[in-house]
């Protein structure tokens, strides 16, 4: 080995060793200060979807009873709603006021989906100024009275 060769190797080692030590120290410090990166779907091994059969738990009678009550009450609410609508129609007809059924609101303008932090912001578009669509006005008249055989009323009133 020549003296020149020895000098070159020591010079290289003197340069590389501190650099390697610094790099090691730096990466160690960085790693200590950061959470491990989230495994992305693309890189994570595919996890088989569990397909185990779900054994139905025995139905709780109390829960079943509550479910039945909910169903029954829902039917009642629907029936009452229809009754209210009918009465509103009759009231409106009698008082000569147009009857506006309490139908579901016209198409919602709220964009579907919420823009989460990682979701792309919804594309903001200027909505076309749609003509306000008035709720459908239905003027109902009470059904005509059925045929009658007589009338009760003020005594002495002409029939």
């Amino acid at each position: 080995m020549t003296e020149r060769g020895t000098r070159v190797r020591w010079t290289t080692a003197a340069l590389v060793a501190p650099t390697a030590a610094a790099l090691f120290t730096g990466t160690t410090v960085w790693a200590a200060g950061h959470q491990p990166a989230t495994v992305t779907a693309a890189t994570s091994p595919s996890v088989p979807t569990p397909t185990a059969t779900v054994t139905a738990a025995p139905a709780d009678p109390a829960v079943e009873a509550l479910r039945e009550q909910i169903a029954a009450n829902s039917a009642k609410v629907a029936a009452l709603t229809r009754t209210v609508e009918t009465l509103r129609a009759q009231t409106a007809a009698i008082s000569g006021v147009a009857y506006v059924p309490s139908a579901k609101a016209a198409g919602s303008t709220t964009p579907k989906g919420s823009g989460g932090a990682t979701s792309p912001a919804p594309k903001v578009t200027t909505p076309i100024a749609a003509k306000p669509t008035a709720p459908k006005v239905v003027v109902t008249k009470p059904a005509p009275p059925p045929p009658v055989q007589t009338t009760t009323g003020a005594s002495g009133a002409p029939k």
Partner: protein, 329 residues
Amino acid sequence: MTESGRGSDDLREDLRVSFRSMASEVRIWVVAPNDDGNARVDEARSIIERVAATCTRFDPASALMQANGSGRRWTVLPRECFDAISAAYDAYRATDGLFDPRVLRVLTAYGYDTSLPFESRRLRLSEGSASPPARRGGRARTWKPKFDAEQLAVKVGPEPIDLGGIGKGLAVRWAASHLKGAGSSVLVEAGGDLMATGGGPDGDGWMVAVENPCGGSDPTAVLRLRDRGCATSSTRVRSWTSGDTEVHHLIDPRTRRSADVGLQSVTVVGPDPAIAEVWSKALFVVGRADIRAAADARDLAAVWVDNEGRVGVSRTMRPYIAWQVSRVS
């Protein structure tokens, strides 16, 4: 007046009779009458006319006015008048005095001392007084008439009585009772009081309109009645101006004035037309604020119209309602 009521395909034509009595149109309708239908209708008409003759307050010679004139002395009466006063006393007690026939002096003070042509026009009686006479002692004394059922004698008491409303109901009751079985169905009506027996001409009940007290052409409601009496107390016709005051014939016995209670009419349905008549008056006097509670508490089938045209129906009336509006004008 007799007229046929069915098509020629019916073997037995309905029997329909109408005549004037008790200041009202009286109508009798027998569906599919039996062989004695005509005779029984004639007798029913006689019953109504006897009640009218004996119980009227517009004839000073009537049995009622004789009893009124006798006051605390015994008066022997025809059966119809005796039974009518007895029924009025029963009604007085059943309604805790809300029905009180001792309102004759009030009606007379208002100028209603003769049969008046209410049907034709709005009356103004300049002789009438807006302040009817107060009772002696200032408060209502309990009515205690005396009855001798064997002699058909009555002591009415110091206050003269009016049998106008209950008299009509009783006339209808007795006529309908006499016509029971005269045909497949029978309707008897007099001045707003009626008795509907059987299923009516169509077999599914008599359809009875409840008059709109505001005068509109459509009724307030239509009732389907079978074996039921019905009566209406209303201010629509028998209202007039007495002096400078608007009055009507439905007197509140507590105030001895026309009942100013926020109602225009009350119709009651029940097993008997006279009792329906009594309660239609009593509920009218109760007034708009309390009528629903009063009717429901007694299981009375009632429909009423208040001064704003709003229609109310008691719980017991609902099964009879075939058609109804919630407001009239």
